[in-house]
């Protein structure tokens, strides 16, 4: 029972981390509090559904199209909707507030379009639902794939952000955009790039969770909330932090469901979140606000 709780919790946490990692890039580097993040996740879920049911393309293969498409879409969103806000924001706080308002509106636009196209119904499809035996625990293959992607993306980005030039530039922008300009980093380009990249990761998250979750057009908000918690708990801008925070939450939920009461799963998520904020307000791996 314990091993099942742990492994099930790890796959659950993998899902949380996967859905949150794009937001940590968008919030950390581009300083955009993207309230429409969950809607972008759901859009990807619906596209995966259409691929799977109408075109017969499995979601993993569909990623080859969805990732560049969502990168491009988010690039356009940043250029058209958010660049004006960035240009006139006098400081980070102002940009955050402006971006909250703007993306809040974007949330309703995306949700409205999805509603018109797909209606309010639940959608679900069957893919990779075979049982896999991991150390005595039986887990669905699709959840393991999601976990795998989460780990690869988390570690991969950690390496990219610390070992490559572009990654270091992104980190510099996250720390202080003004100083970053002084060392000849094109902050606008970096912010736009990070936003688009974050959006692409949201799409990856959406496609992968659509394999095992039942989703509807109204579920975007739920994803945004969960992602926000994971991002803030892990430290804003820190991908590895998001991964670890997600895993902690998943395992905690699973253990509480097994040993205490399944009704407390949401409560334990918030309790841990509050504890982390009380002890280390900038998140597990975050640096103190400048």
């Amino acid at each position: 029972m314990f091993s099942y709780a742990i492994f099930s919790g790890i796959t659950l946490g993998g899902m949380y981390a996967l859905v949150a990692m794009g937001l940590t890039l968008q919030y950390g580097v581009s300083r955009i509090m993207n309230l429409a993040y969950g809607e972008l996740v759901i859009v990807a879920s619906f596209i995966a559904f259409v691929f799977m049911t109408s075109l017969g393309v499995n979601p993993i293969a569909g990623l080859l199209i969805i990732i560049p498409a969502s990168f491009a879409l988010n690039w356009v969103i940043y250029r058209i909707l958010l660049t004006p806000l960035v240009a006139r924001a006098k400081n980070r706080g102002m940009l955050e507030v402006d971006s909250i308002l703007a993306t809040f509106g974007l949330l309703f636009i995306v949700q409205g379009v999805l509603l018109v196209w797909f209606g309010g119904n639940y959608y679900s499809y069957d893919f990779l639902n075979n049982a896999v035996d991991i150390f005595g625990a039986t887990i669905a293959a699709n959840r393991l794939v999601a976990l795998g992607f989460a780990v690869v993306i988390g570690l991969g980005f950690y390496l990219i952000l610390t070992r490559t030039r572009m990654g270091t530039a992104l980190r510099a922008v996250a720390v202080d955009p003004t100083s970053a300009r002084l060392v000849a980093i094109d902050v606008n380009f970096a912010s736009c790039f990070a936003f688009a990249l974050g959006g692409a990761m949201a799409a990856v998250g959406g496609v992968l969770v659509s394999m095992f979750l039942t989703f509807s057009t109204s579920m975007g908000v739920v994803f945004t909330m969960k992602a926000l918690i994971v991002v803030i708990m892990g430290g804003v801008g820190n991908m590895l932090g998001a991964l670890i925070a997600g895993l902690i939450l998943g395992v905690a939920e699973s253990l509480v469901a097994t040993y205490i009461d399944p009704g407390l799963t949401i409560a334990v998520t918030y309790v841990i979140f509050l504890l982390v904020l009380l002890i280390k307000p900038s998140g597990l791996f975050g640096r103190a606000a400048s």
Partner: protein, 405 residues
């Protein structure tokens, strides 16, 4: 005397205006359309339920009537004009929308919103304004009291207790035949529906000497119930009862399949009777028991399903959709019987009952529909009340889940 041009003009203008206003006086009282209003959850957590059980019904009903020329009110044919609002799955929004329909839009009739909570919220307002309330997607133990307290309040799906007792009776029959042991694992969604049904279920099962080896609730909206299913698997219960909501219903079915959890009786909650369940699980839906049921061999019901698919491009559910359609048919006949758009006359006709619907002769509030059903061969057939005509035999035990492709 010469009448000045100005005076002549003014006199003719005044006379024309006087004649015209008397003309409009005669025409002013003619009602051109029958105005129907409703507030429904188009967004928010209630949206999927409303999109399955309610919205296609309302829209199809209006379209079919208008295509035939409209409602026959007296010797006129009045097309239906719809005023609809999105209540965003919020009781406050629904109340506000209903008040707007009553006070500003002044509609002739108001159709009910979706969900137990919202229907309970708008019921007193409809009663105070003299509108009938045909609550088609609400399950509450307060139903009999409310129908008595508010004259024109109809709670179409009945009480939580009747579903729980219906199931418990069914299970007792199986236990007496020695087909299942006395252990039952029960979970419920931590929301009105789950709490009411699990309370009634707990009493009904314990009264019939069942042992509840697992009795927990899970948060609304949760889909990851794998740990729960894994815990239950080792308890040796022959019966699994989940008073769940979608998406939890789908989640726990899928997770039971992955974990190879095969109790002899698998009862899942709201969502099992949805076409989504059949589409998602295919042959694996075989043998799953739930609330509701539909006599698909009955030509009236088969025809309704066909028209629903043609109109909404998806099937209706096999529980609330059917009861709601019968009620909409009743409403149309009540309006036509009353022969007037006067609300009190229509309400009086509704109370008389005796309408010809897909459920046979029906009065809103009649509980003459299936309470326990099971997926058999791609159809969600009715099992209980066993006294109803056409009750099918239970497929027992539930076939083992087939491995995923």
């Amino acid at each position: 005397m010469q009448i000045s041009a100005k005076l002549r003009f003014a006199t003719i203008a005044a006379a024309t205006t006087a004649v015209m206003s008397t003309a409009t006086l005669f025409g002013a009282n003619a009602q051109e359309t029958f105005r129907i209003g409703y507030a429904i959850s188009k967004t928010g957590p209630g949206a999927p339920g409303a999109a399955t059980s309610t919205i296609p019904n309302y829209e199809m009903w209006v379209k079919e009537i208008n295509d035939a020329g409209g409602l026959k009110v007296g010797d006129k044919q009045l097309p239906i004009e719809v005023v609809e609002y999105d209540d965003r799955s919020s009781s406050e929004e629904a109340v506000r929308a209903i008040e707007r329909l009553i006070n500003q839009d002044k509609v002739d009739f108001i159709l009910s919103p979706w969900g137990t909570g919202i229907n309970l919220a708008v019921a007193p307002i409809l009663d105070r304004a003299g509108y009938a309330h045909l609550a088609g997607t609400a399950v509450t133990d307060k139903a009999p009291q409310l129908s008595q307290r508010w004259k024109n309040s109809y709670w179409l799906l009945g009480t939580g207790e009747q579903y729980a007792v219906g199931l418990a009776e069914f299970l007792k029959g199986l236990k007496d035949e020695g087909k299942i042991n006395d252990k039952v694992a029960m979970i419920a969604v931590a929301d009105g529906f789950g709490i009411e049904l699990s309370k009634a279920g707990r009493e009904a099962l314990e009264d019939r000497d069942f042992d509840l080896v697992y009795d927990k609730t899970y948060p609304l909206g949760s889909q990851d119930l794998a740990t729960i299913v894994n815990d239950i698997k080792s308890l040796g219960a022959d019966t699994f009862v989940a008073f769940s909501y979608p998406p939890g219903t789908l989640g726990l079915t899928e997770q039971s399949r992955v974990l190879g959890f095969n109790p002899k009786v698998f009862y899942a909650g709201v969502g099992t009777a949805f076409p989504l369940y059949k589409n998602r699980f295919g042959d694996n839906a075989e043998g799953v028991v739930s609330l509701g049921g539909a006599s698909e061999d009955d030509p009236k019901i088969a025809d309704y399903i066909k028209r629903h698919v043609a109109f909404a491009e998806r099937e209706p559910d096999r529980w609330a959709s059917i009861v709601n359609w019968a009620t909409l048919q009743s409403l149309q006949q009540a309006i036509e019987r009353a022969g007037t758009t006067d609300r009190e006359a229509i309400n009086a006709e509704l109370a008389k009952g005796g309408f010809d619907t897909i459920l046979g002769t029906y009065k809103p509030g009649d509980q003459t529909f299936w309470q326990v059903g099971q997926w058999q061969g791609g159809k969600f057939v009715g099992l209980a009340p066993t006294s109803m005509e056409g009750a099918a035999e239970l497929v027992f035990p539930k076939p083992e889940w087939k491995a995923a492709q």
